[in-house]
Symmetry: C2
């Protein structure tokens, strides 16, 4: 039984609850870097759970790089520099402003990626982008869902930037915004004329990259995402 001291929610599994509490103490500074955690057995009695539960919780935090354990010594709190992940707040807690910020971040990265793609993308990368544009054009004609080529197009720009970290990060953000993006696409298809407009924007980006014009590629991408955000109802 977990003590009521820690307002634990029932539905979550015990290790997750314990991990959340410890994480809280880590972020609030109650547990400072370099300090040792109490022994697992002590934590177990303190939280009123078995050692197995404690170990699963610690395992999560260790995997994230927040803690470090050594057999015979104990568990130590490691500083921020040890963090292995960039964690986004839980999507359930996203409010409108948070979403706008996320979208803004994406726009920064994607416009810069487009500029880099124009500056130094391989001809192969650019050719792949061209295929995506053609596929999307066909989707607009047929009035079908152009989701796959659309996603491919945006991923292609990231890859053409030649920066692997940037690519991975954009992939992550896009995954997070996926629901939002799909909503936008659905919304677009219902408004006649919008798909054609979107296609024109995509083609503008593609032409700028193909023409090896970084400035233009950045601007076209920025404009495109600004328009897309407006279509989504986000104030940017």
């Amino acid at each position: 039984m977990l003590s009521d001291k820690y307002e634990l929610k029932q539905p979550l599994r015990l290790p997750d609850q314990v991990a959340a509490i410890l994480m809280e103490e880590l972020e609030s500074g109650t547990l400072k870097p370099g300090e040792m955690l109490p022994p697992e057995m002590e934590l177990a009695t303190k939280f009123g759970v078995s050692r197995a539960v404690i170990r699963e919780a610690l395992s999560q935090l260790k995997a994230e790089g927040l803690l470090e354990s050594q057999q015979g010594r104990g568990v130590m709190v490691v500083g921020r520099s040890g963090r292995r992940f960039f964690r986004l707040e839980d999507p359930e807690k996203f409010n409108s402003q948070s979403l706008t910020h996320l979208y803004e971040l994406r726009a920064i990265l994607e416009s810069e990626a487009a500029a880099m793609a124009a500056a130094r993308g391989s001809t192969r990368d650019v050719a792949k982008l061209g295929e995506c544009v053609v596929a999307m054009a066909r989707a607009v004609e047929d009035d079908t869902i152009g989701a796959v080529p659309d996603l491919d197009f945006h991923r292609g720009i990231a890859e053409a930037s030649g920066n692997h970290h940037l690519c991975e990060l954009m992939q992550f953000l896009n995954d997070k915004l996926l629901v939002l993006i799909q909503e936008a696409r659905e919304h677009s298809r219902q408004n006649p004329g919008v798909p054609r407009q979107v296609q024109k924007e995509h083609e503008g980006i593609y032409r700028a990259i193909e023409a090896r014009n970084p400035q233009k590629a950045r601007k076209e991408t920025l404009d495109h995402l600004r328009m897309a955000a407006r279509r989504l109802g986000l104030e940017i």
Copy 2:
């Protein structure tokens, strides 16, 4: 002292090994989203470990959002959109190109953050930046280490951007690049004249932000980071 950090080449613990193998299978597509994992007991015999070890491994992957379990049903593979973290490859495996890319990513974000700070940073934020500049100037005069105000300055820019996600992401990247940055600072102090040059660049950024000139803030930051990269020996 210093060897303490590098001495810890601890043999991987069993749960970490199992987690690594499963992660490999997830990324390679051997385990596809929607599929069910074998029961924990089966995995245990397959890997030749106890169920507790398997559970700790699964706990890590569940925390990362790669798996999802339900009592009585089993463990399911979740698609990419479920990922909760943006994971950077292990710092030990960083090669020169990878570092350059990481630095490039940081430059993108920081220059844009500076522009946003100029465009919409609160007067409070800007004032704090001014204090950092003064503190750094004093450090240059005294020839002491200006690490703290320097970090504060860069963090201040991120905060002044008003975008929380951007701020967190920059914090994460800076933590990762911290060793690199400290190296740069040490290198700077040994080369006479460099600290003054750095200070001049910082002041340039600050003046642009204070003057509410986004374009200039972006350019000054970009120039500063480009110079810093060159001082570090990275080809940008």
